[in-house]
């Protein structure tokens, strides 16, 4: 049986293709390595995120007894997706320099703010105006607490008797801003 050989032109084209394959092999290997490195790297793929929700306004109403502390607590949803679900909280009031004071014209009524990293609490760690309380962790598993615990932290506002007993008669109002950051 007669053996068939390709023509010289065809053999040249095959040789050229083989050379191109040998030249591009290192490039393909490098790209594959970069791709696998990106996929299999231990660096977190998700950015750290936090969210505070379920906040409600605080209304003390008419405070009948000015000789005793008056406090209001609320449960809120605090979510952090950071490692360990850690976060910090910073608070500032609407008083001068971010102080925790309510205003009634030129009269002021100071209050204190307490934070607990658990829900259902009526006291907690005292926050300082413009200060940061770090080392908090959240039990929330969803950013709106739609699943898992319904709330994950407690906020308590306190009007101290010492302040109430020297406050002028009238209606006081102010705002409190909470800034949450992942840790």
């Amino acid at each position: 049986m007669e053996r068939m050989y390709p023509s010289p032109g065809i053999r040249f084209r095959h040789l050229q293709a083989a050379r191109r394959t040998r030249r591009s092999a290192p490039v393909l290997t490098c790209c594959l390595a970069v791709f696998l490195g990106a996929v299999l790297s231990p660096t977190p793929a998700l950015a750290q995120r936090v969210r505070i929700t379920s906040l409600t306004d605080v209304d003390f109403g008419v405070i009948a007894n000015l000789q005793a502390d008056s406090r209001r607590s609320q449960n809120i949803c605090l979510f952090s997706n950071s490692s360990g679900n850690a976060y910090s909280v910073a608070a500032s009031g609407s008083g001068p320099g971010g102080s925790f004071t309510l205003a009634n014209g030129s009269s002021a009524l100071a209050y204190t703010v307490e934070w607990s990293q658990q829900s259902g609490q009526t006291s907690g760690t005292a926050l300082t105006a413009n200060g940061t309380l770090s080392g908090q962790t959240s039990a929330a598993t969803h950013q709106f607490c739609n699943s898992g615990p319904a709330t994950s932290a407690s906020l308590t506002i306190v009007l101290r008797a010492a302040e109430l007993s020297r406050a002028r008669e009238g209606s006081y109002r102010g705002s409190l801003t909470l800034l949450i950051a992942p840790e």
Binding site: R49, I52, D57, E169, G170
Partner: protein, 183 residues
């Protein structure tokens, strides 16, 4: 006709929502690298007054040749915008008269004076059961534990002619009640 009624109902429902919806002002935070929430705080402090620092009055071995007088500094606190108050005194005698009694012996009248400053040995004469209005207090807090330690003066006196009608060696007593109201 039906559509008109339906439109009216819808409009009425929408209007009722607008009229009855509470003005929520708290804000929840967004889901992000930081999250900021805020609450509004309201508190109403009612008008209050307090009288404290009163001590019993004793005239021991009073000399009938001269009037006996006892002045004491007391704390009156008012949290109204003017720090104003009124004071009403009543005795334990008939019709709230300022009198002392000792069994079947004739009752002994005494006088009561009030000053809106501490450290005074005389003041405005009070009539039993009649309010003295237009008083103001310098007290900063309800028990004068801060600021001035006293803010008013109470003066109780028995005139020399009255003392001369009293039986020696007999104890007379009575009660003086002071009612302070905010103004």
């Amino acid at each position: 006709m039906f559509n008109q009624v339906r439109c009216a109902l819808v409009a009425g429902f929408a209007a009722s929502l607008l009229l009855t919806s509470p003005a929520f002002a708290s804000t929840d935070g967004s889901f992000g690298a930081t999250s900021t929430g805020s609450v509004i705080i309201n508190a109403s402090v009612p008008g209050r007054v307090r009288i404290s620092g009163l001590t019993d009055v004793t005239f021991a071995n009073a000399d009938p040749s001269a009037a006996a007088s006892d002045a004491q500094s007391v704390c009156v606190w008012s949290n109204t915008s003017t720090r104003g108050y009124s004071i009403t005194a009543s005795g334990s005698g008939a019709s709230n008269a300022f009198t002392l009694a000792s069994g079947a012996l004739p009752v002994v009248p005494y006088t009561v004076e009030w000053a809106q400053a501490s450290g005074q040995t005389s003041g405005t004469a009070l009539a039993a059961g009649t309010a003295l209005t237009g008083q103001t207090s310098a007290a900063i807090n309800s028990d004068c534990s801060a600021g001035p330690s006293a803010s008013a003066s109470l003066v109780v006196s028995i005139g020399s002619p009255i003392l001369q009608t009293m039986t020696a060696g007999v104890t007379y007593n009575g009660t003086l009640t002071l009612v302070v109201a905010p103004e």
